[in-house]
Each structure stands twice: as C-alpha cells, then as structure tokens.
Amino acid sequence: MSGWTAHLPVLPVVLPLIAGAAIVLIDDGKRPLRALLAVLATLTQLGVALWLAGIAGGLLHSPWGGEIAVYAAGNWAAPFGIVLVVDRLSALLLVLTAALGLMTLLYSLARWDRAGVNFLPLFQFLLMGLNGAFLTGDLFNLFVFFEVLLAASYGLLLHGSGAARVRAGLHYIAVNLVASLLFLLGAALIYGVAGTLNLADIARKLPALTGADRSLFDIGAVLLGIVFLVKAAAWPLNFWLTPAYSSAAAPVAGVFALMTKVGVYALLRLGTLFEPGGRPPLFGGDWLFYSGLATIATGAAGMLAAQQLGRLAGHAVIVSSGTLLAAIGLLGNQYTPSLLLYLCSSVLATGAFFMLIEMVERNRSYGADLLAVSFEAFGLADPDDPTGPDDVVGIAIPAAMAFLGLSFVMCALLITGLPPLSGFVAKFGLIAAALEGAAGLTPVGSWALIAALLLSGLAGLIALTRNGIRVFWSNARSTPRLQVAEAGPVAALLLLCVALAALAGPAMDYLQGTAATLHAPERYIDAVLQAEGAGQ
C-alpha cells in the first residue's frame, strides 16, 4: 500500500483541525480570507467523505483492498495502537456531516459569523469532533472526540451571547460534563475487565467474560449507554435539548441537529459490535424501545404545546431521536436500512428547518406564533419593536414569501413523514418492517411503534399547520427580505431530501449494504485486528 490515498481516512479529522487552527491565526479583519478558508476546508471534507463512501460502497477502486478501511495512527497495529475505521456507516455519516456542515457554514457567512468572535474556527473543530467520533475504532478516542465536539459546541451555543443563550448554555454544559464523567467511568470499567479499549478487541474478548467480570462489563456498558442516551436526547434525559437548541444561533442549531445522532450512531455501532457476545443492556432491546416511545410521546406533546417556532423545531429533533431509538430497540436488524434513511432525512430536514424559521421569524409580525387564546388571555400588545424585523439588510429576492412558504411546507412534509418526500419513504419503510414484525415475533411492540409513528406525525402536522397559518396567512405581514446566501443553503438541503426521495432505490441499496455490514460485525472485527499499519 503506498501513495497518499492510503491516508484518506485520517483527512476528515486532520483537515478541519488544520483549517480551524489556521483561521484562528488569521486576523479578524481579513474576513473574506477566513471565510474562503473555511468554505474550502469544508468542501474538501465533503469531497473526501464522498470518496470514502464510494470506496466503502464498492463503487470506486479501493486503495486498501477491501471495503473496510483501517487506518493505524502512528503505524501501531490494532489492539495496541489507535485506529480509525471507515466502513459504510461511518462513510455515510461523514457525508451527512460534511453536507450539513457546508450548508450551515454558507448560511452563517451571510451574517451570523459576525455575531461574535471565532465562529469559523469553532465550527471547524465541531466538524472535527463529529468526523472523529464517526471514524474512531477505539473507546477512549470516542470519548476524546466527544469532548472535542462538545467543547466546540459549548462555544458555538454561546455564539452571539445574550441572557437566554448563557442560561441554556449553563445547563447544557453542566449536563454534558456529568455525561462525560459517566463516559469515563464506563470506559474505565470496561478497560478494567476486558483489558483493552479497542472496540473490535472488546467485541472479541466479550464472550470469554463470565461471572463477576461480565457483570462489571455490563455495568460499564450501561454507563456508556446512559451517556449515549443523553446525547441522543432520550426521555427522561432530554430536558436540556429544547432550551439549548431554540436559543442557539440559527446555523448553530442547524448543525446541532446532527449532534443528537452521534449518540444514536454510538448505540448502533457498539450495540452491533457486541451482538455476538451478548448485547449489553441499554444497547438495544426492551429498555431502549420503551425509552424511545416515551421520547416520541414527549416530543410530540412538546410540538403541540410549543409557542415558539424554535422550540417546535427542538421538539421535532426529539421526536426524530425517539423514532430512531424505538426502532433500534424493537428489532434492530430488520429496521436498519429504513432507520438510516430516516436518520439522513430527518437530520437534513431539521437542519434546514432551524435555518428556515430564523428567516421566517425575522419577517414575522409580533406574537404570530402564540395561540390566539393565550394572546388574548395575557393581554399582550404589540410593542412595535423598532429593533425587530427591520434590522435586516439584504436584497429582496422576488417571491421571497413564496420561497419561505414552499420551504416551510417541504420541511413540514419531511418532519411529519408525509408523501412525496424522503421522510415518507423512510417512515413507510419503518412501518412496513413493523407490520412484518406484527405478524411475527413482537406483535404488541410493533403495533405500539406503528401507532407512535403515525400519532407523532399527526401531532407534528397539527403543530406545523397551525404555525404555518399564523405565520404565512396573517394579515399583518411585512414584505419579507431574503438574501440569496441564506436562502440558497436551505433550498440545497431541501433539494437533497428531494433527491433522497427521487433516488430512493440506489440510496436504499447503499443502506441495505450498510445494514448488512453492520450486522456482520465479524467483518469489522477481522478487518481491524488483521490490519497492518498504513503507509507500508
């Protein structure tokens, strides 16, 4: 193996690191240069991610002679050295990260990156943490990359400052610090009994653990499971999410839509790797299923109760997490392809929605998202806020209202899973798999999942329709002003969802393959443990 292509798997981590560090060093006054560097770095990441996905999917020639790439950092072979592993699932999530990252970055360049200092470097470090978490094949490095992405997210959440952001940030940071401590406890316990931190090696040693050692391992795994459920916003560990996401700056919230899915990814990855050795509790099965159902229920109730669009979107993220968790918990194997499609579609949709509502709210009349009843009950009057909607500079593009309305409708269709967009295809797949399950092993659970999926869709539809009517059909509306730089990325994300629906066949083929590799963990384990160092 030779040539620089052997080093492709490490680029998604190294590129944003270098770019972020370089942007810090460039003077704040040279804004175009900073922006150019950030966009170039993110574009390159997208290219690398697509390339890796092509190789993992078997479409492109593989420099490492197989679908699963194992990159040994420092050239130390697997259980002793640190490895990065690219398989189909990692590559898929890398592409998703880079695509969402690029669009939110472009959106932020219109004005948000000037709301505070060092937005662009923090954004790159967030991408680095996300990419690293998806790539690493090592439990402790999973922790390190979690910390990298969390540290960057703390900074991004506070971007723009303000009392609401600081208060939400305080809670968010406290919750995540405690979760990190639990992560360390879990990782240390697992190291204590298994004697290794390499995920593949743990999976190999797992069947040999018996008695007290196995119990200790399970306790460690449960601690990890709690951490992942905190990240994935499972009920009752999700109360930090809505205030944090709804108060964050729009592009930050957009990219945060992906962050809950890191927890889902970790649950999927560890759960499937440990499967032959007996899946530890909380990595699938009943608990995860009930927790997922409760998450869907709270998220749906929250959507109905939400009086601000930002909180509505936060609850939409919770519903999508709950759907994923419940589906993983019920019958992981059967659901996986549709599950991954749902993951992609919901991340793109909620990401676009967070940015869209910021544009909508800028142009909205006061109190448009309050219920009419509560509006009157509290005797609120329009304060005619002079600093409100008119502080936006930009060229008014024609038919801006039409664009906003159409995008809003598309987001609503995607989030609730109505035809004809990709949200529907994914939800249909989940329900079809659940119907098969209903005829087989798990009739009650499957019907419960189907009911939860449909009812949460209905709740979302009611909430979104109500808000849509209030926002777009109200009498007192100003002429909306939009910048192409902001409308473009939102449109691109929604078009990606359209493409995902139009090309559902090829997409599902890739995802079927992903599910197949995910549920054949011995391929992953063999690839990691037999890999020689790269670059030889």
Binding site: F140, V144, E147, L150, A151, Y154, G155, L158, S161, G162, A163, V166, R167, G169, L170, H171, I173, A174, L177, V178, S180, L181, L184, L185, A187, A188, L189, Y191, G192, L197
Partner: protein, 115 residues
C-alpha cells in the same frame, strides 16, 4: 489499601453529587470538580493498585508484566485531567457570564419562589 481507596472515591463522589444538585452555580462547579477527581482516581484504580512498580520498561528488571504497573490508565487519567481542566475553566467563564446577565448565582438565572 483497596478498601481505603474505594472509600475515598465513594466519599468524594458522594460530596460531588450532593454539591452538583445544589442551586448555586459555584456549588455546581465545585461538585463537578470533585466528581472529576473521583473519576480520575477510579480510572487509575482500573489498572489495579500496586506498590513500587514502574510503568515504563526497566532494563534491570525481569521482562514480566507482573513486575510492572499498567501504563494505559495512567495515560487515560492524564488525558481526562487535561480535558476536565479545560471544560471546567470554560464552565467557570459561563458561570461568570450568567452571573453578569442574571444578577444572581442561581443556576436557573432567577431565584425560585421558594428557597
């Protein structure tokens, strides 16, 4: 030694959890600091407790893993300390910002109706 060590971790963790649940931001940050000490001690213990053994290969000793302390948890603790330090420092800044905005050191940014 194990018993004393375990009790120390238990006491520090207990104090940390109690402080974490208090309503003042300063108490929360002290609780987080105590918890991270306890976690670091715990990671260290996962390499097994032993006395007078070197983590780095020593040419004067026999080549036998039983003669050495496990170096991995020590490296992990080092990493965990650095990360914990950085995030605690960041939390301190947010704490001060919150105090500045809200004018109170309550974690919710306002005093509750009952205290």
């Amino acid at each position: 030694m194990e018993l004393v060590y375990a009790m120390a971790i238990g006491v520090v963790t207990g104090s940390g959890v109690w402080l974490l649940l208090r309503p003042r931001t300063f108490q929360v940050i002290m609780g987080l600091a105590l918890l991270s000490y306890a976690v670091n001690l715990f990671i260290f213990a996962m390499g097994r407790l032993n006395m007078n053994q070197a983590p780095v290969l020593d040419p004067t000793r026999a080549v036998d893993v039983a003669q050495y302390a496990d170096p991995v948890p020590q490296a992990l603790v080092l990493t965990a300390i650095v990360i914990g330090f950085a995030t605690t420092a960041l939390f301190l800044v947010v704490l001060l910002a919150s105090r500045g905005f809200a004018g109170t050191d309550h974690v919710d940014g306002s005093e509750g109706e009952h205290r």
